[in-house]
């Protein structure tokens, strides 16, 4: 395809057929070199890592996402343990991210959410080149310092 357009430049007769000699590329094409597709798993992993980096984030997941996480793992190529609590929508140029966060007791949730959002946007935009249009953060649970000491039931609740 790219070759026909290159040839068209040197052959005026053919060029008339394709106005301006433009390759019949898809709208989403950045250029005629080819299209880049980034799987949603990739964005999930990067967003998950970036969110976990923030102090005050105890874990991702909790709430409804545990149920969805179980469901997601049945779909090939989507969802592992490391991506539970992270849902993404990935388009050709943009990504939208939903996070389910369990915070540490004592962390200022508003500031925490702001820091998470900033880190996730930076990481995903730098690493994937996609524009992040939104990061929705749901704080589903709070991890209390004494929860770990209470034994097994507490542990299962936070994986």
């Amino acid at each position: 395809m790219a070759q026909t357009s290159d040839a068209a430049v040197s052959m005026p007769a053919k060029r008339a057929g394709t106005p301006g000699g433009a390759p019949p590329a898809r709208l989403a094409d950045e250029n005629s070199l080819g299209r880049t597709t980034i799987a949603s798993t990739v964005v999930q992993k990067i967003a998950g890592m970036a969110a976990r980096e923030i102090t005050g984030v105890y874990s991702l997941g909790g709430g409804m996402s545990r149920a969805f996480g179980a469901l997601r793992e049945r779909i090939p190529g989507a969802g592992t343990v490391s991506t539970s609590g992270v849902a993404v929508e990935v388009g050709e140029k943009q990504a939208a991210i939903d996070l389910d966060v369990v915070v540490e007791y004592g962390a200022g949730i508003v500031e925490l959410a702001r820091a998470v959002r900033r880190n996730v946007v930076t990481a995903v935009e730098r690493m994937t080149g996609l524009e992040v249009i939104e990061v929705n953060i749901a704080v589903n649970d709070i991890h209390l310092p004494d929860e770990d000491d209470e034994g097994e039931p507490a542990n299962t609740r936070v994986e």
Binding site: M1, A2, L33, G34, T36, K45, P76, R126
Partner: protein
């Protein structure tokens, strides 16, 4: 359009193998991958190349990769695309990043 079920000639399978070998040499590539739908493959009568789809001479090529995140994905994709174009020439090279490590 040739789908994943199409059997290609031995020459094209060899081309696909050459592309696969070249892409695997890239330090940022962990492995080749057939993509989410398993359709980024080249199937010959006797062999199969996973992670590279070649449909014909001078036709667009598609490669599926799992990348190591040492560098931003666009940078890695650009260099992978260059490697592929070294092998196949001036055709469109679509790159599918199916996972990262």
């Amino acid at each position: 359009m040739s789908g994943e079920g199409t059997v290609i000639s031995t020459d094209l399978v060899e081309l696909a193998e050459a592309i696969a070998d070249r892409v695997r040499e890239h330090p940022g590539v962990v492995r080749l991958d057939a993509g989410r739908y398993g359709d980024v493959v080249s199937t010959g009568s006797r062999s199969r190349v996973v992670g590279v789809r070649v449909t014909g001479v001078d036709e667009p090529v598609e490669v599926g990769v799992v990348l190591r995140l040492d560098e931003p994905i666009p940078v890695l994709v650009r260099s992978v695309r260059c490697l592929v174009r070294d092998v196949v020439g001036e055709v469109r090279v679509d790159v599918v990043v199916s996972d990262v490590d």
